[in-house]
Amino acid sequence: MDGYFDRYAVVAVLLAIGIAVVAGGLFVNRLLRPDRPTPEKLTTYECGVDPVGDGWAQSQVRYYVFAYLYVVFAVDAVFLFPWATVFAAPGFGMTTLVEMFVFLGFIALGILYAWRKRVLAWT
């Protein structure tokens, strides 16, 4: 069982190197770059005029609908992966196939429902 987690440890090594390289680069950059801020430089961009308000814009609800849809479909798609790997193994015959068809039918129903509710239309 020892070797099993070693494979993941290698990913962790790469993660550590990645963070070290990026953060180290940004740190070195901090030492090298000039720093002469003026009030004009420190304003956020808004078409060249002085920005109005504090920059929190109200955004439309449709974005969070897509986030919900993503969660639903991504989780559903993840269920498909293990099924696809054991699908051809002995002992998983017709039942597995039919079950997954039913499952995919449910997913398809979900997207049809969203479609019917005009969530996917962008007007």
Binding site: T43, T85, G93
Partner: protein, 465 residues
């Protein structure tokens, strides 16, 4: 040795790694491999940017960068140095912590996905027998998808932390785009898993080594070994989603100069943080290219005719060459797409993702599963046949229904426009304000255009007399 015996020589099979061969390297080799991946990717980005600018310039009939170094090769190096030495502005209103970590969150996972990309068989590296792949997991492809999802956090945080309306809207828009295309991307992998029977990347490459035969009604049909041919619809959908996932043309909507300025990176003025964001963008392009090579294009194996003439093509360090060549080809495809395709509108982007790619993908998975079930021994063939027929008929029925509804809607809209025009012809003030007659000579309305078309009278362009 005559040419015939050379042709007949069976290709030498390289030492294939099994999934248990990973995670056993000495720590020195692990660090060496990780460092090489990092350095190669960094250099890849530097010269990839140069290559992109040079190639797209040639496609647009200009020279591109040609000042810094021979052929302008050092252009990206110069840009990188400049970005590293420039003043870094942190606007007053930004959320300092989030603003700082967003580029890191964007950059690091992009590199991580490369840890599971196989680039060759087992080789002898300083006396250690080790695969040319950092690591492999039983869920390797899932790791790639997970890293792509974490990259979305970087986009959202960059937009959120900037506290500026453009960055905010750009971040939301970009993340909605990326998550939408990620679903279609994940679904397009399912066909590959069905045939390969594994999620480990080295296993998928091994499964593409030789095509198996499909027995259909007593006939042995040899199947192509690359999933790119065998699962063509999956591959085409993947190609579209990989453009959408990496925000490349024609789906480069996160950056819209006319509407959103720079999108989520608006407040990252030209500094090293911006360079890290750009770096992540290019590394993501490399990652999706590498994934498509691994899953659909036979991985590091040499393309078909090469092993016939050169049996050792797949052994030793040579696979690195094939992998690199496939990478260059795919990256050139990205540039080609950028040079030739106009950008799509946002609503078109979303409806392509949700209304075409995902439903088509679901139907295709059903079909692939049915065909695959036919190949398994001891399965009730008639039952599978009936299921397959049901799937095809069902898909066709749904498509027909949608097609008729869409057609009816289109006709309704055309009729509505027609009616409006007729009403305005009859009484110009019908819309609440008077409009000029729609057939005035200088106002070429619909009616005038139709008349011109009917009479085949040539239009006189203004200013020609």
């Amino acid at each position: 040795m005559n040419a015939w015996s050379l042709l007949a020589a069976a290709p030498v099979e390289p030492a294939l790694p099994s999934i248990d061969d990973f995670g056993k390297d000495p720590i020195g080799i692990v660090i060496l491999k990780s460092a090489v991946i990092f350095i190669v990717l960094m250099l890849g980005v530097l010269f990839g940017v140069w290559y992109e600018r040079k190639l797209i310039s040639r496609m647009q009939n200009r020279y591109g960068p040609n000042r810094a170094g021979k052929f302008g090769l050092l252009q990206s190096v110069a840009d990188g140095l400049k970005m590293g030495l420039k003043e870094d502005l942190m606007p007053r209103t930004v959320d300092k912590v989030i603003y700082f970590i967003a580029p890191v969150v964007l950059g690091v996972p992009a590199f991580l996905a490369f840890s599971v990309i196989p680039m060759g068989p087992k080789v002898n590296m300083f006396g250690v027998e080790t695969p040319l792949q950092l690591t492999d997991l039983p869920v390797a492809v899932l790791l790639v998808l997970a890293m792509a999802s974490i990259g979305v956090y970087g986009i959202v945080l960059a937009g959120w932390g900037s506290r500026s309306p453009y960055a905010m809207l750009g971040g939301l828009r970009a993340s909605a785009q990326v998550v939408s295309y990620e679903i279609a991307m994940g679904l397009s992998f399912v066909g590959v898993f069905l045939f390969a029977g594994t999620l480990s990347t080295s296993g998928i490459v091994a499964a593409q080594a030789s095509g198996n035969t499909l027995t259909l009604g007593g006939l042995d049909i040899p199947m192509p070994s690359w999933y790119m041919v065998l699962l063509l619809p999956s591959f085409l959908i993947y190609i579209v989603t990989m453009l959408g996932e990496t925000n490349r043309v024609p789906f480069d909507l996160p950056e819209g100069e006319g509407e959103l300025v720079g999108g989520f990176q608006t407040e990252y003025s030209n500094s090293l943080k911006f360079a890290v964001i750009m770096l992540a963008e290019y590394v993501n392009v490399f990652v999706v290219s590498a994934v498509s090579i691994t899953l659909f294009m036979g991985g590091w194996r040499a393309p078909a005719p090469i092993t016939t003439f050169w049996p050792e093509a797949n052994t030793g360090y040579w696979p690195l060459l094939w992998f690199f060549l496939k990478m260059v080809l795919l990256f050139s495809f990205f540039i080609w797409a950028r040079a030739s395709l106009p950008r799509v509108r946002y609503d078109q982007l979303m409806s392509l993702g949700w209304k075409i790619l995902i439903p088509v993908n679901l139907g295709w998975i059903l079909l692939v599963a049915t065909v695959r079930a036919m190949q398994i021994e001891g399965v009730n063939r008639t039952m599978v046949m009936i299921l397959g027929a049901l799937v095809v008929v069902g898909c066709f029925a749904i498509w027909l229904r949608f097609d008729t509804v869409l057609q009816r809607r289109k006709e309704d809209r055309a009729a509505q426009v027609e009616a409006e025009f007729e009403q305005l012809q009859a009484e110009p003030a019908a819309g609440g304000f008077p409009v000029p007659p729609l057939d005035l000579p200088h106002y070429r309305g619909v009616a005038a255009a139709a008349e011109t078309r009917a009479n085949k009278t040539a239009e006189v362009p203004s200013g020609s007399n």
